[in-house]
Symmetry: C2
Subunit: 261 residues, 2 copies
């Protein structure tokens, strides 16, 4: 029915609105949202009221503008702590950052997009969640390709359908075919490159984090610049990165079973 995303039920609509408010990145007034959403005035009004009443949004009575509520932050804490990967990977990321002196990314797949879950920055020791939580494209980032390469066919298909294939740089793989060929190469090689495909001057080496059963749980990458190093030099570190990815995977898996309370 709806032109876009099939928001099922009231809950879907409410979450849709929530995303919308989040998308603005600043407090928004009723009419701002009304313009963007194609829900009728009264409906939107009720939706906003419900969300506010539930603490997912807050309405500043002075300016009459909505912002994301604290309940989300609370939920988020749980989500992050629970997301099998992030808390477990923490010490390993620290280690990897220390060893390499480069920027480290930990990412997961989210509907064809890359969601950065944690990050270590060469300069600023532990800078997380100010950057982590962001989303990026899958087809032109190291972590994205590393995950795509090991996705089961149906999931890959679903993910591919959501790629924009925008050409960010001259090196961007801007077609489905080019990407598929690259994914094949990644599987052969065992790790993915980002050869300035997303941003000029930025290169990285990424490996998937996979469960023993082969399920892709996330990806880990070491990022640097062409000014500082080369792909080959980064590649020399691939075995170490893979090793750490394996450790994270192992620990993440062994976490599930002893949950008998």
């Amino acid at each position: 029915m709806g032109a876009e995303g099939h928001a099922d039920g009231t809950v879907g609509k409410a979450l849709d609105v929530l995303d919308m408010v989040a998308g603005f990145g600043r407090p928004v007034r009723f009419s701002d949202i009304l313009a963007q959403a194609d829900y009728p005035k009264a409906t939107l009004y009720r939706l906003l009221q419900t969300l506010t009443h539930q603490g997912m949004l807050t309405l500043d009575p002075e300016t009459g503008s909505y912002a994301l509520g604290v309940r989300l932050v609370r939920l988020a804490h749980a989500a992050w702590a629970q997301s099998s990967l992030a808390p477990i990977a923490r010490p390993y990321l620290d280690e990897l950052a220390r060893e390499t002196g480069e920027t480290i990314h930990l990412a997961q797949m989210d509907l064809g997009q890359v969601l950065y879950v944690d990050k270590r920055n060469a300069a600023k020791p532990v800078e997380m969640f100010a950057q982590a939580g962001k989303v990026g494209p899958a087809y032109c980032t190291g972590v994205g390709k590393a995950m795509l390469a090991y996705l089961p066919p149906e999931a890959l298909e679903a993910a591919l359908a959501r790629q924009s294939f925008h050409r960010f740089t001259p090196h961007t793989l801007a077609s489905r075919e080019a990407l598929l060929a690259e994914l094949e190469a990644i599987r052969k090689r065992g790790h993915a490159w980002d050869a300035e495909e997303h941003e000029t001057g930025i290169i990285c080496c990424a490996v998937p984090i996979r469960s023993r059963a082969g399920r892709v749980m996330g990806a880990l990458s070491v990022t640097s610049t062409t000014a500082r190093t080369t792909l080959d030099a980064l590649g020399a570190q691939a075995p170490m990165i893979k090793d750490i990815a394996a450790k994270i995977a192992a620990e993440a898996e062994s976490w599930r079973f002893p949950e008998q309370v």
Copy 2:
């Protein structure tokens, strides 16, 4: 109708379930949730299905257990980045941590409870979100009392109604009257103490962060131990803490107006 919390509409119920899953702090199976929630089987099932379909939950097909979804992490990132206080306060917290060498907390009020939004730890430079996002009681923490003291009457009443007044230590103010008297003292003094009221050996000095109009936006605290310092010594730093709180408030406020896009 419902014995407990008045969850209005389907959205309320869905969010309720979400909280529930978050509360477990680990992947949970259908029946775990069913036991906890008092929704009928079929209803809960549909709710979970919707949430999963929406990406707020993920269902691990292997173990058949639900966990919080990535969409939540994405939303949370936005919530944190947008929560007028947290991102602005970042550099100030760093500064305060450097100056005092103690643990710093930034908190907001969430339905009568204290929600820790950011944290600096004396030992580990920047440890956030692993601790931040947690909630704690308001009546027996420094930040909690600092905020309560400056809440408008109705909000204070609502918050008080939600305090458990559990006696954590011999110093806990375990009654409404004792707390009200203390709040009065805090207003006189301009800052709040935590004199081992929540945990033995832990003391802190907290100040509210208030808008020019007087609205309580959050609170800031410096925490230490009785082994290392005394309340009086902490009190000597109160002016500096207040100063920083004022700076954060000012910057947070000046953020709203230039939003004309």
